[in-house]
């Protein structure tokens, strides 16, 4: 067989896997830090936790130079058009990490102006729980994202087009409100008296 004639210093792989291997080990994060999660994001980039061990230390504040958006903190309705514009300006292939409870769900800020999860409006690859998450958790998200890129990445980015990858958007419904929706009937014995 042809493979047996290869010299020892030659490896055979798929082009897709080679491209994914290159991409996953040089993620360039775009720090979209709006709140206290941003402090943890900075700590992740600093010496003690050292995100450079995973090849993602090159934070750039220009979306043109980034391929990983880390949304760290709550996003208000005045900020969301900015977020979407920055996401659109990033070059493909690109990924998004939703860091912390606020970016993922709105967190405790269930008010008229805070977006209840950025995944309602832009694609998200990884969610990091926590309020704010520890740097270890963000690093774990980056490791998981690297696994994801290696597992399903392709040279031409066709994984972004497949039907499985295009997750249906979360239903845009309001959360139940105490005393106003049947989920929380105030007279129910199951509801703890306020």
């Amino acid at each position: 067989m042809a493979v047996e004639q290869l010299p020892d210093n030659v490896m055979v792989s798929k082009l897709d896997e080679l491209a994914s291997w290159c991409r996953k080990n040089s993620l360039w994060p775009m720090p979209f830090a709006t709140a206290c999660c941003g402090i943890e994001l900075m700590a992740t980039g600093a010496a003690r936790h050292d995100i450079a061990r995973f090849g993602a230390e090159a934070f750039r504040f220009s979306p043109r130079q980034c391929d990983l958006m880390i949304v760290a903190g709550r996003v208000v309705m005045k900020m969301l058009p900015v977020l979407q514009r920055i996401w659109s300006q990033m070059n493909e292939p690109k990924w998004c990490i939703s860091m912390g409870a606020c970016a993922s769900t709105g967190g405790v800020f269930d008010t008229y102006c805070v977006v209840q999860g950025i995944d309602r409006f832009i694609p998200v690859d990884m969610y990091v729980p926590g309020c704010p998450p520890r740097p270890e958790q963000l690093i774990q998200a980056i490791i998981d994202l690297q696994d994801k890129i290696q597992r399903e990445g392709t040279l031409n980015g066709s994984e972004f087009d497949t039907a499985q990858r295009q997750q249906p958007k979360r239903a845009l419904v309001e959360l139940p409100v105490y005393g106003q929706t049947p989920y929380f009937n105030p007279t129910s014995p199951l509801v703890k008296k306020l």
Binding site: M77, Y112, Q116, P123, Q166, E174
Partner: protein
């Protein structure tokens, strides 16, 4: 520090009896919207209240024993004597309107814009009465008590970006 009694006496002598209360060494005087330019100008020029500390508002909808819907709050201070005075102006629907105090204190500009943004109080003769916190296209006044905490869906009224859009 409570207001100087001579200030209150002079105020009553100049503008007649005004409802005045004192609570925890803070003096509060209630005036009407029409009196705002006159009283504020007099306090600034004659009594040395050269600093407008804050302009704020309270919505008294569903508040017990309340007779008026909105209560404007003006906090004045005299930086030489450390004397402080609170002025209240009660306003009602349908057009809560009060004269602007920007001609007297430039610092009132953004404070009044914030009150307009959150409560929909109109300030006549304000040089630039636009929203300051909420987006320009926002239509409601979110700190009014009849506005729901979670809004009326404004926070979800955005286009959804898919992977294929980028």
């Amino acid at each position: 520090m409570p207001a100087n009694p001579t200030t209150l006496e002079a105020l009553q002598a100049r503008f007649g009896e005004l409802p005045t209360t004192e609570f925890r060494e803070q003096t509060r005087v209630v005036i009407t919207a029409d009196q705002v330019p006159e009283v504020m100008g007099w306090l600034k020029s004659e009594r040395g209240f050269d600093l407008l500390v804050d302009v704020s508002c309270v919505d008294y909808l569903n508040f017990r024993d309340a007779t008026d819907r909105y209560g404007m709050v003006y906090q004045l201070a005299n930086t030489l004597t450390a004397e402080r005075l609170t002025l209240r102006v009660y306003l009602n629907d349908p057009n809560p309107t009060v004269p602007s105090v920007v001609p007297l204190w430039q610092g009132a500009n953004w404070l009044e814009r914030e009150v307009y943004d959150m409560f929909g109080i109109h300030f006549t003769d304000h040089p630039n009465l636009r929203r300051i916190l909420m987006p320009e296209e926002f239509t409601a006044f979110p700190l009014r008590k009849d506005y729901p905490l979670q809004g009326r869906g404004e926070r979800h009224n955005f286009p959804v970006l898919e992977r294929s859009d980028a």
